[in-house]
Amino acid sequence: MENTANKNPDSVLMTLLQVIDIRGSLLAKEAEKNANFVLRTSVGDMTVAEFDRCVEAGEAGLTAASAAMDAARENYLIFAAPRLVEKL
């Protein structure tokens, strides 16, 4: 998930969460290199500690996943078709 918030942390907790967030982003970028497909969701101004907006974040993820689903399904079929037909 990517947000557009650019806030300075205003507490120790927020500082720690931002450190975790930065490390998480770096790890995700590495993982992307080996991924078959990636779902990238934009969550606007939402930040990592806004737990009361979890449903909103989940809905954004669902919408992004749904938009990518046709391509993912085609991709899976291309990968699986020879194995599938062989075993019919």
Partner: protein, 324 residues
Amino acid sequence: MRALAWLLPLLLAVPAQAFLFGGASDARARALLEEMRAARDSGDCSSVGRLSESFFAEKPPASLREEVYACVGACYERGGLTDKAISSYKLALELYPGNTLFAGRLAGIYNAAGFHANAVPLFLRVLERRPDDVPACLGLARAYAALGFHARAKTYYSRAVVLQDFSDSALLKEYAAAMLRKRDWDEALFIAGKGAALLPGDAAWTLTRARAYYGRGDHHKALPELEAALLLAPSRALRLERALCLLMAGLPRRAMAAAEPELAADPADPLAALVKGMALYNLGEKAAAAPYFKTAGAGGPFTAAVAAAFAGGAAPTGTETCKN
């Protein structure tokens, strides 16, 4: 007292309501509103705009102003002036938040323009006040389906078809297609049954049943439905869908036999070549299948990619097709 006496004839000469509450001005505003409606009906949006300025100069009551916003918005919509229609409806909605017409029209514009997330709260606002509003139910179902919330879309599609007592075959087809996409095979079959009762000779219902059956892996049950659809509406696409279904049902020789007439008609038919190639592949005749995969490679991107995967070529990987 004598000083006021001269006022009496004047007061009697003018209707009291007009004098005290601006009735003459209201009458002019009503006349202008009628003119605007006539201009709207004849598609003359510039006149509607010009008349609306004169109308607002009369300082008419709120109920009349509400009607003018509806008239102006409808005119912009009909004229394809979407941006102006949006601005008009948005302003009207700020002024009259309880007006379901403005919310419904604005939501409809957002939906048509692909801004489904903006349409959802507006349709919900309409349905809060009018739960049986069919266009709002349908609009919300479409918005949810486009956003990927298929279960929510089902709620509102089903409400729309029930409110119409299953009488709109186009809506039933749309609902059935949405349920196939949701992989809700039982609901798709139910709607196909309702559709077939409404229009028994329409191939769409047998085809929906066939797709629901093979969607849940029951290819043998799908085959007679596909054959019935073919009798009602024969087409190359449907014949090849049947050939593919035969292959998935584990009947490669019958699949080949179904694809061959299409190849005889057009030896370069990529989908027919792919079906025949896959049938040969299934039978272990990989060398014989190779030329068919080569022919299929000239088809569309997906057909070509599947053919390349069979031929052992470099099919596009996930990163090329799915990363955004």
